[in-house]
């Protein structure tokens, strides 16, 4: 399926369930997402992880609403609890099955996102492991001089920004020296088709969501 359409559908789902208060709808979405993930051969370990990670924030929201809510607070508490899981599971159907390269290709080819945005983000994304390492290096360098750099130390961010400025110019230069020209038309090696079936899935998905949100008399 076209990654951009998939993202759009999930985006609409996430937006809509932010405003609905139907517990069963949230649970139905979690089940559908789980089935899809199983069909895409997601490991049980990953699914278990998806269950555990949001537990703490979900409990936080639940207890806030249960203890300090107004009106039908138990109902709202469970709405929020299940909503978090609906966010996480529907989101996982995208992040676990699509990589950022496919999304960038789709946004550039199907939606005419300027190439510098698509490839610029990709270039930065590929540095993630290096960036994690660099944060350690900066902290270590601080320690050697007797400075503990914590997340509230401006110096830590300052040094990170200096590295970012340096790397961004190097990367841009490297891309340009390999023939990347800003705002010039490009040809594509990987083609991302946008088929009629993608549009049908989007329309059907949104339609089903409306039935779930407005037509089915959930209890």
């Amino acid at each position: 399926m076209n990654p951009s359409i998939k993202l759009l559908l999930l985006f609409i789902i996430a937006l809509e369930i932010s405003f609905t208060t139907i517990i069963s709808l949230n649970i139905a979405l979690v089940i559908l997402a789980t089935l899809y993930l199983l069909w895409r051969r997601t490991s049980l370990k990953t699914l278990g992880w998806l269950l555990i990670v949001p537990l703490l924030p979900a409990i936080g929201l639940w207890s806030t609403q249960y203890i300090n809510g107004t009106g039908d607070n138990a109902q709202m508490a469970w709405v929020l609890f299940t909503r978090i899981y609906a966010f996480v599971f529907t989101g996982a159907t995208f992040t676990l099955t699509t990589d950022i390269l496919e999304l960038a290709d789709a946004l550039e080819q199907n939606w005419h996102l300027p190439a510098k945005f698509a490839y610029g983000v990709l270039a930065a994304y590929n540095l993630v492991p290096k960036i994690q390492h660099e944060v350690k290096v900066i902290r270590m360098a601080g320690l050697m001089r007797g400075q503990t750099l914590s997340f509230w130390s401006p110096k830590l961010y300052f040094k990170a920004i200096l590295v970012s400025i340096n790397w961004s110019q190097n990367l841009a230069q490297a891309m340009q020296s390999h023939g990347f020209v800003e705002d010039a038309p490009r040809t594509h090696y990987r083609h991302v088709p946008l088929r009629a079936s993608d549009w049908s899935i989007l329309v059907i998905g949104i339609g089903l969501l409306q039935i779930g949100a407005f037509a089915i008399p959930w209890r």
Partner: protein, 191 residues
């Protein structure tokens, strides 16, 4: 797209890199969030952890708006950080992206109301205020805040603004002061 022309490739990469760097630093604060949430949940104040740390997560947007001084840089800075986090930090999926847009737009609004002219305390404070208001409006629906008792809402709002001001205002100002003194900003936007 005239707007896109004012952006250089290196600007886009820079914003994305800063977003990832900050994200990598914020990972270290997860334990603060976990401990606070676990401690405060039994008395129904679990959301406070989020309120206290939210300013941190909104910092890339405010800082990007201040650093690049281009229309849309605050929104884009936060959005890029969220996009990368969606794929790499992972578990919040699409919700990260929506939060990124909301937070980025909130930060941008502060620079919009000061007409992209006040890269000083006024601009930063305005940005902290608008980010608080916009994200709070979103949480009224998303996190069901509209159902909470009034005193708690006020408490959350005040704490959130303080967090925005401390991280997005004070800390951002300290960082940008260092950048100004080192004269790196001018060279970063002229290649």
């Amino acid at each position: 797209m005239k707007w896109a022309k004012s952006w250089y490739l290196s600007d886009v990469i820079l914003l994305a890199l800063i977003g990832i760097f900050f994200g990598a630093i914020f990972m270290g604060t997860n334990y603060v969030y976990d401990v606070l949430t676990a401690a405060l949940s039994p008395i129904g104040l679990g959301g406070l952890a989020n309120e206290l740390l939210l300013g941190l997560w909104c910092m890339p947007g405010m800082l990007a708006g201040y650093m690049l001084r281009l229309k849309g840089s605050a929104t884009l800075g936060e959005l890029l950080a969220a996009t990368v986090e969606m794929f790499f930090g992972g578990q919040w999926g699409i919700a990260t992206l929506i939060s990124g847009i909301v937070q980025g737009f909130g930060a941008e609004l502060g620079y919009i109301v000061t007409r992209y002219k006040h890269y000083d305390w006024l601009g930063l404070t305005a940005s902290a205020a608008t980010t608080t208001i916009v994200t709070f409006g979103w949480d009224l629906a998303r996190n069901g805040y509209y159902k909470l008792q009034l005193w708690l809402l006020i408490l959350y709002f005040v704490v959130r603004f303080i967090s925005m001001f401390v991280f997005g205002g004070l800390l951002t100002r300290l960082i940008t002061d260092m950048l100004d003194r080192s004269h790196v900003l001018k060279s970063s936007h002229s290649n």
